[in-house]
């Protein structure tokens, strides 16, 4: 294994922090959203579903461009934050975290939606009729029964954030220790024609991505077997 430079380690730390925080935030946000999508039949459901899936279709540049405008010092969100005495979010870690949450949203919602549909409304209704409160139902019925869905959602979100590039490049620039994630650092190495450095990080990511996917698929199979 070739030696990693301090800059590599810094990018690895930023990347892991971004992936972990994005995953944690998205699991919290996507659970109620996926539940709502799985059980609601209102016309607004289609619109929400389309909004959730938008990042799958849009080029990252479109998302990056609008986020830069919105979160920057002259944008509505950035200006509101500045008016509150905070700083705007362009070219900051918080900014790329917001972007990652939006960008990976479909990867968290989709597996959960699938799992909740499989589960159906019945187990939860039974639990409610036996006197279980909403939180109780979440932790003792939904979470254990949809464990596979949660694991797949978390893994895919983590992995997709790891592979994020265009949005971060546009919104975050390439600031070491702040917004320079692995994918951006690899681009930077390639631009500097430092192919050895680009190669050692690329190979690492390639292997990691493969392992993640093998994990996801093996979980998928295991839980397929125990589904009702």
């Amino acid at each position: 294994m070739p030696e990693l430079s301090p800059q590599d380690w810094q990018a690895i730390a930023v990347t892991l922090k971004l992936c972990a925080l994005t995953t944690a935030i998205l699991l919290v946000l996507a659970t109620p959203l996926a539940w709502w999508l799985a059980h609601r039949q209102s016309p607004s459901r289609t619109v929400v579903q389309a909004l959730v899936a938008l990042p799958l279709v849009l080029p990252p540049t479109v998302l990056g461009f609008y986020l830069l405008i919105a979160l920057g010092p002259r944008g509505p969100v950035g200006q509101t934050l500045e008016a509150m005495g905070l700083t705007h979010l362009a070219f900051s870690f918080e900014g790329i975290l917001v972007a990652s949450v939006i960008y990976s949203l479909p990867f968290a919602v989709q597996p959960l939606l699938e799992a909740f549909r499989h589960l159906g409304a019945r187990p939860v209704e039974v639990a409610a009729s036996l006197g279980a409160g909403p939180l109780d139902r979440l932790f003792t019925v939904i979470l254990p029964l949809c464990r596979g869905g949660f694991i797949v959602a978390a893994t895919l979100t983590f992995a997709h954030t790891l592979g994020e590039f265009g949005v971060i490049l546009m919104l975050g620039g390439s600031i070491p220790g702040e917004t320079q994630v692995l994918s951006v650092l690899i681009y930077d190495y390639a631009e500097a024609m430092d192919y050895a450095a680009a190669h050692r990080l690329s190979l690492g990511l390639l292997i990691f991505a493969f392992v993640v996917l093998v994990t996801v698929y093996s979980f998928n199979r295991r839980f397929d077997g125990v589904r009702p």
Partner: protein, 253 residues
Amino acid sequence: MRSPLTMRLALLFGLLVLAFPGHALTIAAASSLRQVMPELEAAFEQQHPDTPIRVIHGASGKLATQILNGAPYDLFLSADDTYPRRLAEQGAGATEPEPYAVGRLALWQGDPQRPALMPEELAGSDIHKIAIAQPRHAPYGLRAREVLQALDLWQLLQPRLVYGENIGQTAGMVESGAADAGLIAWSLTFTPGLSGRPYTLIDQRLHSPLTMAMVITREGADLPDARRFHDFMLSTEAQAILVRYGFEAPTRN
């Protein structure tokens, strides 16, 4: 599934958050400075060992746009004087643009076996792809277009041109063999391991001068280190390093 994994992740964030240092001097530098920058940094750090520096490279136009959009760069080393002037005009600069070097264009080829080309020979039939940087936001790209226009080759070579996002990527296109030749910054031919590649220095009269200027941004206005690096760039030591990497001294008026 929740508790142990979540707790371990929480611990990981904690450690990562602690690992990040405070404010460092952040320099946005033109891509043409990629090879020389590490040496300039090392020389500066010898004089000011307590100043952590981080450098972000990119096309000057892109870096200027990022600064206008609130990027936290303290000092902007541009590849021309247009973008620093634009920042100053829009209130994003804290100092007047100061020239620190003059850049030179080189016609570069990836194949070390071939003789160096003259720009007039680009029309030759064995040159299939010619790389230049995007003229819209890369100063070296704009000058490359001027050179081809001055030689009356711009229209003729249109179908063979490929565009790099910045001059570093453009050089990469030539280096990898994706393009047969490219008009790049002379300074990038000093990339370690690539010094044997044939190149021809372009006559400066064929393009408007690449007067490279720097400006301290509003972000860096109160940062003494920004001023120190700014002044260091004009020192005899920094100027000597720049000359060794294919830049010329700016003309003083």
